[in-house]
Symmetry: C2
Subunit: 212 residues, 2 copies
Amino acid sequence: MSEEIRNRILAAAARVYAQYGFRGATTRLIATEADVNEVTLFRTFGSKAELLQAMLQTQVAATAVPMISSDTSDPVKELTRWCATVLEYLRGHAHLIRKTIAEAEERPDAACAACEGPNSAGHSLVLFVEHLRDEGLADPDADVETAVSMFMSAMFGDALYRDVMPHVFPQPVEAAPEKYVTTFMRAVGLRATVLPDRSRQARVAGTRRRSR
Amino acid sequence: MSEEIRNRILAAAARVYAQYGFRGATTRLIATEADVNEVTLFRTFGSKAELLQAMLQTQVAATAVPMISSDTSDPVKELTRWCATVLEYLRGHAHLIRKTIAEAEERPDAACAACEGPNSAGHSLVLFVEHLRDEGLADPDADVETAVSMFMSAMFGDALYRDVMPHVFPQPVEAAPEKYVTTFMRAVGLRATVLPDRSRQARVAGTRRRSR
DNA sequence: GTAGCAAGCAAGTACCTACTTGCTTGCATC
DNA sequence: GATGCAAGCAAGTAGGTACTTGCTTGCTAC
C-alpha cells in the first residue's frame, strides 16, 4: 500500500519538476498533484532534495535506453528505426531533460544521471558505423565521430527544441528520422543502399543496389 | 549618472539570471551583485519581471547576430569562419540561452527573443548553400534544409552542452568548426574545394573527387 | 545658499517556502 | 476487541520573497 503512494508521489514530482524545475517544484504543489498530504511526502522521502533525486533515478535511469543493434544487413532501415526510437525516448523526457541540463551547474549529479543514457546510445552508433566501414560500406575518409556527434545533436535539438522553436525544424515530425538518417549517411559516405528519395516518386520495394 | 547604474543592474541581472534562472534570480541577489540598494532596482524597473525582460532585450537582442556573407569564392573558408563566429556567439550566451529555453513554457516571450538571432543565422546558411547549388558547387539531390538544421543543432549542442556533458563532443574546441564544416559539406555534397583532412598526411592540392 | 532629485537606508507588509510536531483516523493483524 | 502502523489533518517555526514606505544623504543647478 505504501508502494502505491510512493509511486504516485514520484510520478507527480516528475510532472511538476518537468514543468517548473527544481525551485518551482514546491512540496505543496507535488503533494496536491499526487493527491497526498504534504507531510506524507517528507515522511517517505525525508526532504525535497531527496525526493527529487529519487524521482530522477526512477524516472530516467529506469527507462530503457535505445541502443542500435549490430545487425548491418540493412543499415538504412536499422538506422531509421533506431533514430525514431531515440527521438521518441528523448521526446518523452524532453521537459525533464531540459530542466535538468539547465540546472546542471547547480545540481551536477542530476545532470550526469540524465544524460548517461543518450551518451552510450551515441557510442553504440559509432561502433555501428565503424563496423560498416570495416565492411567497406562507408567512406574510410569520413570523420565518423564528428558525424555521429552532429547526428546526436540533431536528435537532441529536435526532441528538446522543436516545440519551443519550431521554425528551425523544417521537416515534419514523422519525416524527421528518415531525413536525418539520409543526411547522416551522406556525411559518412554510406552509399551501399538505395537512399530513399525526398520526392514522392515510387520506390521499388526490396531493391538493393551495391554500386561500389 | 542614472544610466551607469541602470547598466550595472542589467549586467548583474544577466549574470545572476544566467546562473540561477528566473526563480533563482532574487532581487536581493541582483542588487548585491550590482552593488546597489535593492530599492533602486524597483525604482528604476518597476518589478523583477520587467527588469529581467529589459535585461534579456538589451543582452540578447542588442548583440550582433552572426550572418554568413554571400561571398562564395572560398566556401570552406567562409563557412568555417562563420561557424566559429556563431559558436563564439552561442558560447557567450550559453547559460542565458539554456535557462531561457528551459523556462520557455513559463515565459514564452522571453524564449522567442532569445532564439530569433540564431534562427535568422540558420536561414542565411540555407540561402548560402542554395547559392552554391545554383553555381553547381553542391549536390542538387542534397536535402539542404535538413543538413542545415542538423548543422545548426550541432552548433547549439556544442555551445550549450559541451561543458555539461563533454564526453559526447570528441573533437577539441578549436578543431570543432573545421570538423563540423567538413562533415556538413559532405552531407550537402560540396566537393568543389579541397576538404581539409583529419589526418596529418600530405594532401594533394587541387584534387577533385566526384564519386557519383 | 537652497531647491530638486537620485540614491541609500531601515523597517515593515503580506505571502510563500521547507520542514516539524502533536494528534486523530482508518485499516490490517493477532 | 486490542495493538500497531501508515496516512491525514491542523497548526506552527524559521526563514525567504517581492515589493512598499518614510526618511536621510549627497550632489547638481539655479
